[in-house]
Amino acid sequence: MHVAILGNGVAGVSTALRLRERLPDCRITLVSGESKYHYSRPALMYVFMGHMRFEDTKPFEDSYWAEQRIELLRAWVTEVDFEERRLELHNAPPLSYDKLVLATGSKPNRFGWPGQDLAGVQGLWGLYDLKELYDNARQTEHAVIVGGGLIGIELAEMLHSRGIHVTFLVREESYWDNILPKEESGILNELIREAGIELRLSTELKEIVDDGAGRCCAVVTGEGERIDCQLVGLTAGVSPNVDLVRESPLAVGRGILVGRSLRASLPDVYAAGDCAEIETPEGERNLIHQVWYTGKMQGEVVADVIAGDEREYRPGTWFNSAKFLDLEYQTYGRVGLRVPGEENLFWRHPGGKHAIRIVHKEGRVIGFNLMGIRWRHEVCERWLTEPATLDHVLDHLEEANFDPELFRRHEGAAREAFRSALR
């Protein structure tokens, strides 16, 4: 059996490695036009900032793939012939397969802004975007970033580290407040400004101005203000990258439509990671999960399903983490979802750089947010799965702490604040 995997990001690679574990004899080809070897996409920013070299972003030694007998093919796929089970490749002979796994990732959103296709306007998702950033940054003294999410702040930090003046346009009235409660979001507004990044809240992009030679030279905001710049970063979220199969017989919604076992609409075709849109027979909203660990889990589910197990993607308790400039953030469970009947406890250290939020409902915990404090995944997951009572959690905050040894501990102060808020 020959399994072709399209995309060598974490979903594709997790599929390949698990598949090799499960089926020692099958032929596995990892196809990517982006890079020769798998690298860690979240680490792109560190390459630009000089924290790491590109080779340091590769989780495996180059020799590993041959040892695992995973064939690597560096080529762009231009078309999938589902009938003949064949991939048409750009500048390479076609590749036949028996089973196909689509792990094509995401692409930055572009909302039809005038000027969005000018030179100097770009998103940040893949290695090709990083290369473009190197090219664009060459003549940039002032950059405008549009869209206040995780990639936006990363891009701002990257450019800022190179002495580029960054104006950060955020449509919402507070940074990332569609995901974060207003207190956490407020902390980040402060943090971004302290770092010397110009944050413009409640500011929309109206158009990007052409310098007459096809390159951006300014943006105009919703209020008509013109901001001169040489680079525009579009970071208003990402969507599943379905360019390749949009016009094919494969069922595509926002992403490639799959079931919980990640089978797509045609036989022997699967999708995993950012590009998959999981239909939920339960009648809820379809799932598009676009973080590292869900890509990994989905890749492993696909491999198991190909190996003959009837497995389903059930990610369990939601969690995620990020680092905003110098501030770490973790989230577990249901926070900021406005669950009916939820109540919130929030504590912020007077110094401002540590915060804990506990979301509870009917005396049981349902979610946690942490800023500048690390919590232990295992403990959070146990508490949220049981679910533990709020009382128990408040009595055992220390159990969850995952800060480095010898750090000042804040459980005492937080507990006191929580208890007095409850009284």
Binding site: A43, H51, T140, S161, D243
Partner: protein
């Protein structure tokens, strides 16, 4: 349809890589007035030092010492203080891989050559530093003479000079560490610790022993790193030196026989390597800027395992031979050359010239990783019989690789973190930088229960034999998301 710009993308990242982005504003000089002032002090100190080394005025006086090494150190301390003071507290690695000095560029090689050269002069051409067997010291050594006489009762030697420079280096770069990691209490306390141990245990007290005519001993030195502390010459010297001598002997024995296994059981080898040891102290302060240069490949790991354990075997054999020779006269005169050989190749060439001189070329823990028999011994305990491990926080790792990049011991920390396995490695010195640079809070150095470190860690002997067979597999039950409806 796939985008045209992607079809046109054929950049060879493997061949051409991604270096420093060319950006128009990044190259502007950004030295503040305070930083310039601090550098001026460094310059003045260096000038004064040069003049005095050449035998000019003030040489051999207190004003001379203060205006040279004193100003140099003060200026350097102020420079690090002022340049880091205005940054926001947090990991500051911007541009690390763009700097020639830090990435084996021209400046890196220059630093390596200068540092190696100093060790060559120190070990084999001390006369060039001003040492003279008969008379008064001259040159560079004479600069520290006013400190040496009251402290040790003797004129300064090249070793006294070395001790002063070593301690000053830990002080100056210790201040840099304190500022760089001022958001991280583990790093701050650890840096204070290595300085205190160097200043008091390795410099002040040993020099007082010299003054009081007791046998020389560094109180943070342990056999087998200080290989001769348990060799007959030294031991007999202790025995003949009265009550103080007996105390020193008991100290040396206790450190090696009790301290090593017991403290390592409770805290891992870090209690020594990154909190107490002098070599570790220098590596963690003056060496910190070069930690990213350690080789992370599995090949380097294989070389490490062979080399460091070979040195351990060698020092144990040499110790056995010198004692057998001493007690029984078994090997005739063989132990003499063996001692000399060990002292030359391991003590001087490996730990000194390569170990420190090559910081800018191979990273700051070359000796600790590939050569130190003490690290090898502590590592065996840490691997199989200890409570220490680096815990991985569930499924939070996204494989960015900061941990591996900044591991001075060349451990591919990410390989464990991305599989949600604990890091239990003989070589880990517990510096804590992986946990500090991790952007997702994935890593935590901990002393937990021995049995939950990795699958089978409650059976240390089996773990030891297993580790010889397949050292890359630690099989601790990885974190898996529980299957549940969401």
């Amino acid at each position: 349809m796939i985008e045209e710009r992607l079809l046109a993308y054929d950049y060879d990242e493997e061949l051409e890589g991604f270096g420093e982005p060319e950006t128009p504003l990044a190259d502007e000089p950004s030295l503040s007035g305070a930083e310039k002032g601090a550098l001026a002090l460094v310059g003045l100190g260096a000038l004064s030092l040069t003049v005095q080394t050449a035998g000019g005025p003030l040489a051999g006086t207190w004003p001379g010492l203060l205006s040279s090494l004193g100003l140099l150190s003060l200026g350097a301390v102020l420079f690090f203080w002022t340049s880091l003071r205005d940054t926001t507290p947090g990991i500051k690695h911007d541009g690390t891989f763009f700097r020639s000095l830090l990435t084996r560029g021209g400046l890196g090689w220059l630093a390596g050559i200068v540092m190696t050269g100093f060790y060559l002069l120190l070990y084999w051409f001390p006369a060039s530093l001003g040492h003279s067997d008969a008379g008064e010291p001259t040159g560079l050594i004479r600069v520290v003479d006013p400190l040496a006489r009251p402290l040790t009762g003797y004129p300064a030697s090249q070793w006294f000079l070395y001790g002063v420079l070593y301690t000053l280096a830990i002080l100056v770069f210790g201040v840099r560490m304190l500022m760089k990691y001022r958001h991280n209490r583990y790093q701050r306390l650890r840096t204070v610790s290595v300085f205190v141990f160097q200043f008091a245990f390795a410099w002040l007290l040993p020099n007082l022993l010299v003054k009081l005519r007791y046998p020389y001993m560094e109180f943070n030195g342990v056999w087998p790193l200080k290989n001769d502390y348990l060799w007959p010459d030294k031991v007999l010297g202790f025995v003949d030196a009265g009550a103080m001598g007996k105390f020193l002997l008991i100290w040396a024995l206790a450190a090696a026989l009790i301290g090593t296994p017991v403290l390592t059981y409770f805290f891992g080898k870090r209690w020594y390597c990154s909190w107490v040891c002098g070599c570790g102290g220098l590596a963690e302060t003056a060496g910190d800027p070069w930690r990213q240069l350690s080789n992370k490949s599995t090949t380097a790991w294989a070389i490490e395992r062979w080399l460091i354990h070979a040195v351990l075997v060698l020092v144990v054999l040499t110790t056995a031979v010198v004692w057998a020779d001493h007690r029984l006269g078994l090997f005739g005169s063989a132990s003499g050359p063996l001692k000399q050989w060990y002292g030359f190749y391991i003590g001087a060439v490996f730990s000194g010239v390569v170990g420190v001189g090559f910081y800018p070329l191979l990273g700051n823990r070359v000796w600790c990783r590939f050569g130190c028999p003490q690290a090898a011994l502590l590592g065996l305990f840490q691997r199989v019989f200890s409570r220490f491990r680096i815990t991985t926080n569930g499924g939070q790792c996204m494989s960015c690789g900061n941990c591996s990049t900044y591991c001075e011991m060349g451990i591919d920390v990410r390989a464990y973190a991305e599989r949600s396995e604990n890091v239990v490695r003989a070589s880990c010195v517990g510096c804590g930088v992986c946990a500090a640079v991790c952007p997702r809070g994935v890593l935590k150095l901990e002393n937990g229960l021995p049995g939950d470190r990795f699958d089978g860690s409650d059976r240390p002997l089996t773990a030891l034999t297993e580790s010889f067979r397949r050292p890359d597999i630690y099989g601790y039950e990885p974190w898996r998301a529980p299957e549940q409806p969401d």
